[in-house]
């Protein structure tokens, strides 16, 4: 009896991760004539759009530490990391469902892959933003180098919500509709296109209890002046989202097969 086990032998994960990353990042680009250049063109296009709007005088929100266009450009890019990670994780069953039904793949590697894809798609435009900021004379704090570490909780939060949404959405699409619209609302209820200080009334209360307020503002503040926004609350949020991510990832991994067999995805 000792010669038997209840589990199948483990597979190589490193090569699988490499191939999945290649597939997720490059398969779409292979369909275009410009290929890799799109990874560079899209962020430049986004920056040019904001420069144009600033030139047209569309954004004049009053006095700020940095030009409003730069503020929004930075904030929306940070938000993009949260949103993309949420979307990637919530669509795991759509992206990989058929593959998972015919191959026994380690689901934690797939989650990790989506995490890395989100990070890569964030850092390419981010490098352009740094270049743009330096060009228009905005000085960056030396602590900008620990920026990726401060970004991590934000990405963990996006992944946690995405994984929970993905599980339930595979069973009933209602959860996708509900959560996608909730995330859109969350953009307005988080200090992305405004600072946490300017809000008043009900919005001020929502912002106060919204963990994204601390996760986004801290990353933005660190980038600009080397400080965390309300450090104690930000660190508490970081701890909470990390625990949430670990719990939900475990829950997702355990239940993947159950969802696949029920839905056939």
């Amino acid at each position: 009896m000792d010669n038997y086990t209840y589990t199948l032998p483990k597979q190589s994960n490193k090569f699988l991760l490499h191939e999945l990353l290649k597939l997720r990042l490059l398969a779409d680009l292979k369909r275009s004539l410009l290929g890799w250049f799109w990874l560079l063109i899209l962020p430049v296009f986004a920056i040019l759009t904001w420069i144009f709007m600033k030139g047209a005088g569309i954004f004049e929100p009053g006095k700020m530490e940095i030009p409003y266009t730069a503020f929004v450009l930075l904030s929306t890019t940070i938000w993009g990391l949260f949103f993309d990670t949420y979307k990637n994780c919530s669509q795991i069953f759509i992206t990989y469902g058929k593959t998972l039904l015919v191959n026994k793949l380690p689901i934690n590697i797939i989650i990790f892959n989506e995490f890395i894809v989100g990070a890569i798609k964030f850092f390419i435009p981010f490098i352009f933003i740094i270049a743009y900021f330096l060009y228009i004379g905005i000085s960056l704090h030396p602590l900008v180098f620990i920026f990726p570490i401060v970004l991590l909780p934000l990405q963990l939060f996006g992944a946690a919500i995405g994984l929970l949404t993905g599980l339930f959405s595979a069973l009933a699409k209602d959860f996708t509709f509900l959560m996608d619209n909730f995330i859109k609302l969350l953009l307005l209820l988080s200090p992305v296109v405004y600072t946490p200080e300017i809000s008043t009334g009900l919005l001020a209360e929502v912002i106060k209890y919204n963990p994204l307020t601390y996760l986004i503002s801290s990353t933005r503040n660190l980038f600009l002046n080397g400080e965390l926004y309300q450090p104690m609350i930000s660190l508490t949020c970081t701890l909470c989202v990390t625990i949430l991510f670990i719990l939900l990832t475990r829950f997702f991994v355990i239940n993947t097969a159950r969802i696949l067999e029920r839905e056939g995805v």
Partner: protein, 263 residues
């Protein structure tokens, strides 16, 4: 029908005891049970798998089975009899909630092939797809590189190996997929309807290769198929499923096929 309860030495590679799997017939009930079970699991509890709820049915019903070294098994049965469900349970794709599946510790690699062409990307070339699918099968890069010449030669794709897969015919895709599978030294190989789109010449080539590789090498092969006579010369064991139950397991494959087709 005769029931051939096989007891051979050396010990089996896989031992299955009292295996059940239930599914739901109705879409709304399926969504409701799915969400309900997920919430139960969320609180660390386990739903009841011993009985059926409304609109549920047993896809697998008390399966007891042993797979031995050198077994080349045809898993037969009408559509919906539970062949694919059983194979997915044995390969760990479906969750095992009731019953036991035990794998011999000497098993290092188990490969399962469902829908032979799935997992390919039409934008990538044949060669790039080999790397991608090999990664799904848990291979290492160096293993793929060592097997590349065999795959290209066995599939007869020649210079088409560097053409995007979208330009391949169905048969070419099957040849590529099957050549990759055959290049892997797996202890147990499961093939679920893998030869549907390949031409007779390629099929015979595959059958010959499989017979050489999976006879007297301490490995096992399980083929899910409706093409029973075609496979009768390859297989040394037949297992027939009906409504989720094993109704016949025999080593007299030809007689077993006759019994199955008559009944």
């Amino acid at each position: 029908m005769n029931i051939d309860e096989v007891t051979l030495t050396p010990p089996p590679l896989i031992k299955v005891t009292g295996l059940y799997k239930k599914f739901c017939k109705d879409r709304i009930s399926n969504m409701y049970y799915g969400i309900k079970d997920l919430i139960i699991y969320f609180f660390g509890l386990k739903p009841d798998y011993s009985s059926l709820r409304k609109n549920e049915f047993w896809a697998l019903n008390d399966i007891n089975l042993k797979i031995y070294e050198d077994d080349i098994i045809i898993l037969a049965g009408v559509n919906g009899s539970g062949k694919t469900s059983l194979t997915r349970m044995l390969t760990g794709i479906y969750e095992n909630e009731r019953g036991t599946i035990k794998y011999h510790k000497k098993i290092k690699k188990v490969i399962s092939v469902f829908a032979i062409k799935s997992g390919f990307n039409p934008i990538l070339t044949g060669r790039e797809n080999i790397y991608l699918k090999a990664a799904y099968y848990g291979m290492l890069r160096k293993e793929v590189e060592a097997n590349m010449n065999f795959i290209i030669s066995f599939s007869d794709l020649g210079s088409f190996i560097d053409t995007p897969l979208g330009k391949y015919s169905s048969g070419m895709k099957t040849r590529l997929a099957m050549s990759l599978v055959l290049s892997i030294k797996s202890d147990i190989l499961f093939i679920d309807e893998g030869f549907s789109f390949s031409d007779s010449k390629f099929k015979i080539k595959c059958y010959r290769f499989l017979k050489e590789e999976y006879t007297k090498n301490g490995r096992a092969l399980v083929i899910v198929s409706h093409r029973l006579m075609e496979l009768s010369h390859l297989a040394n064991r037949l297992i027939v499923l009906e409504k989720g139950k094993i109704i016949n397991t025999t080593r007299d494959v030809v007689q077993g096929i006759k019994d199955y087709t008559i009944n």
